[in-house]
């Protein structure tokens, strides 16, 4: 997967260009796939009449009808299980779990069935399905609305776990996820749902679901991150550049299966790595990346791999939420420490 990702393409132009925020890009991707493939259906809580509590599914019911855009009873286990049943029948269901904090009730269905149906039946049946869920903190929401537990799902063989970090990648990755023949957990960084508009290349093919995207080239250090933290990471890289430290920024994008080649290649060049994620540190997804660096890239490492992450505790309620989330200064401090090391 050493395929270089053309970052420039991130900001499309031309007649088909459409300005969209990340959440709008999600909506456009759903719209596009529903328009071109009758088997794509959408289900979840508040997705139909209301168009989703974040408006990600707005207008779909009006366009594609109640048969294809379904408000379900309030039951996440059921939503996941029905999605499996629909997928097995040849539909391409896209289910929304309203917040990642409410995804745990789907785990039995995801771990024991969605991820295994193809393997269990030796290919006779399969689950081409997507579970979408807004995730991450920083929006001053109540309890359970700030989860980022992608690592738990990334441990499950047979799943894909995909996290976009820009409107274009949300668009391209979601379209790919819907077309993918296997179950994809698509986690949307809601903190940046409306952070910025971007001109989308609508005609663009889907993006690959097994590739990291190198968003910024650099020679001194590799910053590995995903989701909403990409913003802070890019900002940190910018500021580091002003201080003479050239940082490469890798957006992992697909957490599972993990494209370590891109990361290893980058670290081979830079000799240093800082991993940034919002989730709790211990047993987080960053651990796997650091572990593989220790296994396969040890000789290239000029300094210990550092992780800048959320703490191993429950995200505080909104008054103290900001003390939990990593920020630009944390990244810069970790980089400076790493660079100072050697």
């Amino acid at each position: 997967m050493s395929l270089a990702y053309d970052v420039e393409k991130d900001t499309g132009a031309g007649p088909e260009a459409l300005e969209a925020t990340l959440v709008e890009a999600v909506n456009l991707a759903l719209d596009h796939e529903m328009e071109h493939d009758e088997s794509v259906v959408v289900l979840g809580e508040d997705v139909a009449v209301n168009g989703g509590v974040f408006r990600a599914t707005v207008n779909l019911r009006e366009k594609y009808g109640v048969r294809r855009v379904m408000d379900t009873p309030l039951a996440e286990t059921l939503i996941a299980g029905m999605t499996i049943g629909m997928a097995v029948q040849g539909l391409r269901p896209v289910a929304e779990i309203q917040f990642m904090g409410f995804i745990y009730a789907t785990f039995e269905q995801l771990v024991s069935h969605a991820s295994r149906m193809r393997n269990r039946t030796r290919g006779r049946l399969s689950c081409p399905m997507v579970i979408r869920a807004p995730f991450g903190g920083g929006i001053h929401a109540p309890e359970h609305h700030s989860e980022s537990t992608e690592a738990m799902l990334a441990h499950v063989p047979g799943l894909r776990v995909v996290i976009p970090s820009s409107p274009q990648r949300a668009y391209g990755l979601l379209r790919a996820a819907i077309r993918d023949p296997d179950p994809v957990i698509f986690l949307e960084p809601k903190r940046i749902y409306r952070a910025a508009k971007q001109k989308l290349r609508i005609e663009e093919a889907t993006l690959p679901l097994d590739m990291c995207f190198t968003l910024r080239e650099g020679s001194d250090i590799t910053l590995v991150s995903w989701g909403a933290m990409i913003r802070e990471t890019l900002e940190a890289a910018e500021q580091l550049g002003e201080r003479g430290i050239s940082a490469e920024v890798v957006d992992v994008a697909t957490i599972k299966p993990l494209d370590m080649e891109t990361i290893l290649t980058s670290v081979e060049k830079t000799g240093r790595c800082v991993i940034i994620h919002e989730a709790a540190r211990s047993f987080g997804a960053g651990a796997e990346i650091a572990a593989q660096l220790a296994e396969k890239g040890l000789l290239n490492l000029r300094a210990p791999v550092a992780r800048v992450t959320g703490y191993d505790t429950v995200m505080p309620y909104l008054r103290n939420e900001r003390y939990y989330l990593p920020d630009v200064d944390d990244i810069i401090a970790a980089v400076e420490k790493t660079v100072a090391f050697g």
């Binding site: 809580e45 508040d46 009449v49 209301n50 168009g51 509590v53 408000d71 379900t72 009873p73 309030l74 039951a75 996440e76 286990t77 059921l78 904090g101 409410f102 009730a105 001053h140 929401a141 109540p142 309890e143 359970h144 609305h145 540190r281 211990s282 703490y311 191993d312 505790t313 429950v314 505080p316 309620y317 909104l318 008054r319 103290n320 939420e321 900001r322 003390y323 939990y324 920020d327 200064d329 944390d330």
Partner: protein, 362 residues
Amino acid sequence: MTTGPGVDIPMTRYLGEDGDPVADLPAWAADHQLLVGFYRSMVLTRVFDRKAVALQRTGQMGTYPSCLGQEAIGVAIAHLMSAADVLVPYYRDQSAQLGRGVWMAEILLYWGGDERGSRYRDNAVDLPNAVPIATQCAHAAGVAAAMRIQGRHDAVVCTCGDGATSKGDFLESINVAGAWQLPLVFVVNNNQWAISVPRSIQCGAPTLAQKAVGAGFPGEQVDGNDVIALVEVIGRALERARAGKGATLVEAISYRLGDHTTADDATRYRSPEEVNEAWRLEPVQRLRDYLHGVGAWNELQEKALYRDCEKAVEKAVREYQETPPEPPEAMFDYLYANLPHALEEQREAVIARAARMDGGGP
């Protein structure tokens, strides 16, 4: 009422929409001072709730779920429960919580983003708000089972919304409540909406109360805007529970007069006509009309009550606003009874980091 193939679910109402009795009131309701007490609690809840919404709208609090129109249910529950009973609430139970000794300032702290809002200085037993829908029902079953194991004769009241009745946790819990004959009263606040999803999409049965049939215990409906009916029906259920006769499912028919939360805009999915119609049924006006009718309440008292409530609410708001945030390391201090060694470093780190962020440190 016929409520499905071969099943009959009772429905109880005493006060009609205009506050006139539609049936003989229970004997206890002759105590007008008691009813006035209910009325006061309902008004306090409403005044509090309005203020809470205003705080959110003005950026002084986080997302908040208004309980507008749901005041009677909680007032009935709190009135009926003893101190040793346990309330296992959901997030729209402000009126019950106020009646159970939770401070208004605590409720504001909770929705204002401060964990101390669930510490309840004056209530050691009730469970805190449960945000993940219906999950609290299983806790309620556990609490009720514990009471039996411990040989206590108390009871549990567990509340949830209409949407919650679709979720496995609720359904598994009513099932065990029936199988184990637990001292447990489920009160479903059927306010017709689960965010944008109407009651009809949650369930194909004509009543939610009839879910009790499959669990093997009685289910009944009650007018959730009629506090007298609520006290009567939930009271009977609590007696059954305390007498060891098992669980009851009470479906209180109400209406969510406000948005789902301050983050919601209900005009996107329901008509103003529907909401206007629901306003005609709301519980506070109905009880006031009744009390007026029987001469137990007048305009002077009304004005004084609102003045008192507003004062009490203002005081609570001040307490809320004057409560400084916890120190950042509080995020570690209650995670385990004793901080594991492995977390000491992180606790130190957040202290240093907060100092840096707040300009006080390196």
